[in-house]
């Protein structure tokens, strides 16, 4: 059973507009969430994270919002740039506290 779900496999956005990537989770005990970005033929790289004690975390063009009651988080990229085209994975720590449970990813395409 997937504990972290990304229901949109792909998203296409024009350059300069906002990209919104969504993620739902099943367990209300999860208390820390991360977003990773992956280019083809490269390993994922950490992008931004949020703790459940917050509802928003911002880093430059990237903002993550957490809605605990809905068990939903979203990543906003503003403004989107062609270099943001990649697969984005949302993740949370597993029960062990070491490994990550990843969603299936959303492929973002930012067109000029």
């Amino acid at each position: 059973d997937q504990q972290v779900k990304q229901n949109s496999p792909s998203l296409s956005v024009q350059e300069g507009r906002i990209s919104i990537l969504n993620c739902d989770y099943t367990n209300s005990m999860f208390d820390y969430f991360l977003w990773y970005k992956k280019y083809p033929a490269e390993g994922p790289t950490f992008l931004i994270s949020i703790s459940s004690i917050k509802d928003k975390n911002e880093d430059g063009r990237f903002t993550v919002f957490l809605n605990k009651s809905a068990k939903h988080l979203s990543l906003h990229i503003v403004p989107s740039q062609p270099g943001d085209s990649a697969v984005y994975f949302c993740a949370t720590f597993s029960n062990s506290g070491y490994a990550l449970n990843f969603g299936k990813g959303t492929s973002l395409l930012v067109t000029p």
């Binding site: 820390y32 033929a41 994922p44 062990s96 070491y98």
Partner: protein
């Protein structure tokens, strides 16, 4: 900068062969991980290790084993490769409980 390196970027093996995938990290991280990435399935954890000679099964350990004889090195072993093990294999490392994971570039393994 954390560096995680993997022994091969591309590998082609025959069904039934024993396959070794090597991963080395240079940041003295305690934790190391092996994931595989498949289209539509995201990243799935195969095994992880939180200390030398320690290992824990992930979500899909069947058909794989691991070895961690030194802190910086974590090996994934396919005892008898099968075609359904054709995949992108990603190694990661992290420090401590809930540490950010840093990924290697991945090994694209094809089993014929």
């Amino acid at each position: 900068d954390v560096k995680v390196t993997q022994s091969s970027r591309y590998l082609v093996k025959r069904t039934g062969e024993k396959v070794f995938l090597e991963c080395v990290q240079d940041m003295d991280h305690e934790n190391m991980f092996w994931y595989r990435q498949d289209p539509g399935l995201g990243l799935r954890l195969i095994y992880f290790s939180y200390d030398v000679k320690m290992k824990e099964k992930g979500d899909i350990p069947e058909g794989y084993s691991v070895s961690r004889e030194k802190k910086e090195r974590f090996s994934l072993i396919l005892e008898s490769a099968s075609t359904n093990q054709t995949s992108m294999y990603l190694c990661a490392s992290s420090f401590g409980d809930r540490g950010t994971q840093y990924f290697g570039p991945g090994t694209r393994l094809t089993v014929l």
